[in-house]
Symmetry: C2
Subunit: 258 residues, 2 copies
């Protein structure tokens, strides 16, 4: 039933584990820094430290790409940069559209990390007609009506969604229908897509909530949570004909970015 298979499809693509793929950009960044300092070679130990991972893990990751190291010496920095770039597809040009020109969309448009990695912003799109034509990061905002044309004309295969949550699924559907097969979703919604389309999700609120959980745990270790356990709403009990619900409704309103 095409349940919006977000994050980690666990499908091992061409023998390279998903976890490894997720680390390749990390290695690439560390290697690029070394390259700029004209460091010729690097050992797995050094590179692992720079990337913040275990050295054995790094060697195993690289082993999936092939034997690019030299025993007794290490890895050739330039060569590895090239191999990883190629493996990730960064030697190609990837036209990208960003839909939703709120604060976040504008931030992404200005984000330098795109262009330098082979990602070219083909267009910025927004549903607000007032924004149409305005320049953001040197590019004119196009109206949402043009979405299909833009995607098809520019052979766009990657779409970034930074719209409010309510609009995300519709935008997603239109992108997919027009030919987009990879989506980076910043809207706090579960997107449903057909098979063959990849969705990755970035959710700022979720990250903070995870931090809050650990933070609470750290704080609650000394004082064994005496404050929070005062009168928790009584557990749901059946009363013939339904379930008694403790609180009222309308807490924690759903929110959206931008």
């Amino acid at each position: 039933m095409a349940t919006g298979r977000t994050h980690r499809p666990a499908t091992r693509s061409r023998g390279i584990p998903e976890a490894t793929v997720a680390r390749l950009p990390l290695y690439l960044r560390a290697l690029t820094a070394l390259s700029e300092r004209s460091v010729p070679t690097v050992s797995s130990e050094e590179l692992a430290a720079a990337a913040g991972v275990n050295s054995a893990k790094l060697r195993k990751d690289f082993s999936y790409l092939g034997s690019y190291g030299t025993r007794g010496v290490g890895y050739d920095v330039e060569y590895l940069v090239y191999q990883i770039s190629r493996e990730l597809g960064l030697t190609q040009d990837w036209p990208v559209v960003i839909v939703g020109m709120g604060n976040l969309g504008a931030a992404l448009a200005n984000y330098g990390g795109f262009a330098s990695r082979g990602f070219r912003i083909a267009a910025l799109i927004d549903a607000d007609a007032h924004l149409a034509g305005r320049l953001i990061a040197g590019l004119p905002v196009r109206h949402a009506d043009e979405l299909e044309d833009i995607v098809e004309d520019n052979q766009v295969s990657i779409g970034v969604i930074t719209t409010p949550a309510g609009a995300a699924q519709e935008v997603c559907d239109r992108l997919v229908a027009a030919g987009v097969t990879s989506i980076l979703n910043f809207a706090p919604t579960v997107l449903t897509v057909p098979d063959g389309v990849d969705v990755r999700k970035v959710d700022l609120s979720i990250e903070l909530q995870i931090l809050a959980f650990h933070e609470q745990r750290k704080a609650g270790e000394e004082l064994s949570e005496a404050v929070d356990s005062v009168t928790p709403p009584v557990a749901a009990k059946t009363v013939r004909g339904g379930i008694k619900r403790p609180g009222s409704d309308g807490d924690l309103p759903a929110v959206m970015p931008a």
Copy 2:
């Protein structure tokens, strides 16, 4: 040696698996939506569909929190919202500072998802003196000199870093020294922190690169990569006294957000 243990410490906190904690905000969002529609109860199957996960996984996740369901009926929406909120620590007030008021920092400051989930922006901080005093999202930007005072005065335990990569580690060190124990890092750098401090990383560039990898794989399935395999730089070979490196240096310059 305190290697910047980013993401997933794999430390099972109080019996609740890390993977489960990461999904709780997802369930909470789905439940909140149901709550607003005044839906009294929901089955694991329905809620799982709304959250985009497997129903068995959802039930197991909830089982770590306790037995909050009613067999034959499902889960009480309001009660579950409360329980998850409490478990995540969202019933508390979490003062947060955002350091780095570039485009991304401003976007986060305007992001509505913070305040509504118990996260209160205690201050916006930037190193640029020209920005000091300017209002962003209704809050005045404070100068970086005040960082320590702000953190201590407001009992801030969570810090968000949206500075350029070069400044991130120093900002991180200062935040930690002042008492921050959880950091959400948007700068493309590996942060090194002492034990007891949690770091979560959000990297826009990495997400896109992962998408590109899969995209390339999809595209390369029909035409078996005839274009990209033309004359790959010859593998590194030793020539007595060093390693022959194929390309020159200076490719893919390191970049930073904002």
